[in-house]
């Protein structure tokens, strides 16, 4: 187990006023528990302020938990932070977190020294990373001349400087163009193949779907769903939508289907000598029976509509399933 989180809670206390001081507590993370295995990509999804970044900050030794336990590589994130730091790294999305008055290469050489990477191997490592994130051409330019996407790519290189065993990515594709985002996804896939454990937060559902082995959906500090992307989609699927093409369809059969309580005909269009049906079915048994009946009318083909992770996410968040 690379990451273990048990009943983790973090409360932020805000003080207001000078004479009459008032304290307000905001529960950012509310007793969450999860585990991440070696080489797994685990995504934390949720609306802004749900507690994703706070969780990452606790795990990356930047924040103390109010209660509960968080361990990375078997070490307590608060009490044994020093033993963890050499083996982890983190990337927060956005344009900050690098020295703008230094060049990209100078930034990486500096962070390499902080991670005790020796002088002889740091130039090699820095050049490898610059090549990986496509900044080789701009390595000697000051970061203040970089575009938003270039800074983000430099952040990624910085986060990989120590070849971390566990990598925390907080909205890593924020500000990246589609090609840059695709390249980062490829980097994450390669890291995963190399056995790096990755904890990722993102608002890009497609990205989470492609990259993650498991997903936790977090809302108001609590995990409200946790499973593989496939199972999450199954979990919320209460109707099955299919689009079928058949040769013929008697009027009486269409009426029978329209009257059935577990079949909902969305549309029935005759086009270029064939009939196109769009149907919603109650469950898998109904679906299988329906397909059998369609074969009697010259079934030419059918397609089952898949729910996207975005559909799943919206339903889970809005309906708190």
């Amino acid at each position: 187990m690379q990451i273990q989180v048990e009943k983790l809670t973090r409360v932020f206390t805000r003080k207001k006023g000078i004479i009459h001081k008032t304290k307000t507590d905001k529960v950012a993370v509310d007793g969450i528990s999860f585990e991440v295995n070696k080489g797994e990509v685990f995504a934390l999804l949720g609306p802004n302020g749900a507690g994703k970044t706070t969780t990452i900050k606790i795990l990356s030794t930047l924040l103390a938990p109010t209660s509960g336990k968080a361990t990375v590589l078997g070490k307590d994130c608060y009490l044994e932070a020093k033993q963890i730091r050499e083996h982890i790294n983190f990337i927060f999305g956005g344009e900050s977190g690098v020295y703008r008055r230094l060049t990209g290469k100078e930034n990486l050489i500096y962070f390499a020294s902080l991670y005790h990477i020796d002088c002889t191997s740091d130039t090699k490592r820095v050049n490898q990373l610059l090549e990986l994130v496509g900044l080789m051409e701009a390595k000697d330019q000051k970061v203040e001349t970089y575009s938003k996407g270039m800074i983000q790519r430099l952040q990624i290189a910085r986060g990989l400087i120590n070849n971390p065993k566990v990598l925390f990515l907080d909205e890593p594709t924020l500000g990246l163009d589609p090609i840059g985002a695709r390249d980062l996804r490829n980097i994450i896939q390669k890291l995963k193949q190399a056995g790096t454990t990755i904890l990722l937060t993102t608002h890009d559902m497609n990205e989470a779907d492609i990259l993650s082995d498991r997903i936790a959906i977090i809302k108001e500090g609590k995990i409200i769903a946790l499973d593989t992307p496939v199972n999450l989609k199954k979990q919320i699927r209460d109707v099955i939508e299919i689009e079928a093409t058949i040769k013929e369809l008697p009027e009486t059969q269409l009426i029978t289907w329209q009257q059935a309580h577990d079949i909902e005909i969305q549309s029935c269009i005759q086009k270029q000598g064939v009939i196109q049906l769009h149907v919603k079915l109650q469950n898998m048994v109904v679906r299988d029976n329906f397909i059998k009946q369609l074969t009697n009318y010259g079934l030419l083909g059918f397609q089952q509509k898949e729910d996207s992770l975005e559909d799943v996410y919206i339903r889970i968040i809005e309906e708190n399933i």
Partner: protein, 257 residues
């Protein structure tokens, strides 16, 4: 060791790149030299050049220390680089000391500027009464200023109001520590505060080694206080850094928001 030298280099590059720092390091010593020159010109002091160079050099040196070593923590917080330094395997205290050393190195440059302006432009006489003692004392004085900056850096890491504190500290320390004129001219009730401040002794012994040492026993006594107090400041700073490590993680003060 490499992390220390790299931090010093990065610190110097970052500081040099800032307009405010360039002003503090290059222009401010010239202004201070002019002011102190006209202040001391009318005195009967024959070696008034020493007053001018030391006074203006120390004023600028302090500005560099307070605006950078301490203020840089706040700057790192605004650049969001502070969490990355804090969570790196290199001890954060070590990083801060390296930053202070980097600034101290470039903070010595104003002395050179003040010397050039005072001796070559204003033709002020400048002689060092006890050159060997002066050379021996300079490292102790630098260490004393590093000790002060170390405490400030710890406080500024804990507090998010570093910028305000920094601005409030520059001028009172000039006056309280006798950087431009002796503390004996200050009201009696203020002088005990000066006696608690490390730069007071640093400035005093530095000035005596350049001008003249009226009482050698007293001079040695002041050096001992300087060394002892520096040690106390370092211990306080170290304790603050240990506390800071817990405090920033409990109160989330590594970032601006």
């Amino acid at each position: 060791m490499r992390s220390i030298t790299q931090t010093m280099i990065v610190q110097m590059k970052n500081s040099f790149a800032r307009k405010m720092f360039q002003f503090t390091m290059l222009v401010q010593p010239i202004i201070y030299t002019c002011i102190t020159y006209f202040l001391f010109k009318q005195t009967k002091e024959t070696n008034f050049g020493a007053y001018v160079v030391l006074g203006s050099g120390l004023l600028s040196f302090w500005s560099c220390i307070v605006f950078s070593s301490a203020g840089d923590i706040d700057r790192e917080r605004w650049m969001s680089t502070l969490p990355y330094l804090f969570a790196s395997p290199t001890n954060f205290t070590k990083i801060v000391i390296a930053k202070i050393l980097g600034n101290t190195c470039i903070g010595l440059f104003p002395f050179v500027i003040s010397y050039i302006v005072a001796t070559f432009i204003f033709q002020s006489p400048f002689t060092i009464a006890h050159p060997l003692l002066f050379l021996a004392i300079v490292p102790l004085v630098i260490l004393a200023f590093v000790a002060v900056a170390f405490i400030f850096a710890a406080v500024f890491t804990i507090s998010k109001k570093g910028g305000t504190l920094m601005n409030c500290l520059e001028y009172p320390i000039f006056i309280l520590c006798g950087m431009a004129f002796p503390i004996s001219v200050l009201p009696d009730w203020i002088q005990p505060i000066s006696k608690l401040l490390l730069p007071t002794y640093a400035v005093d012994i530095l000035r005596e080694s350049v001008l003249s040492i009226p009482d050698m026993q007293q001079f040695i006594y002041k050096i001992m206080i300087l060394v002892g107090l520096s040690l106390v400041y370092f211990i306080i700073g170290y304790i603050l850094f240990i506390q800071m490590d817990k405090h920033v993680r409990k109160h989330a003060s590594l970032e601006v928001f």
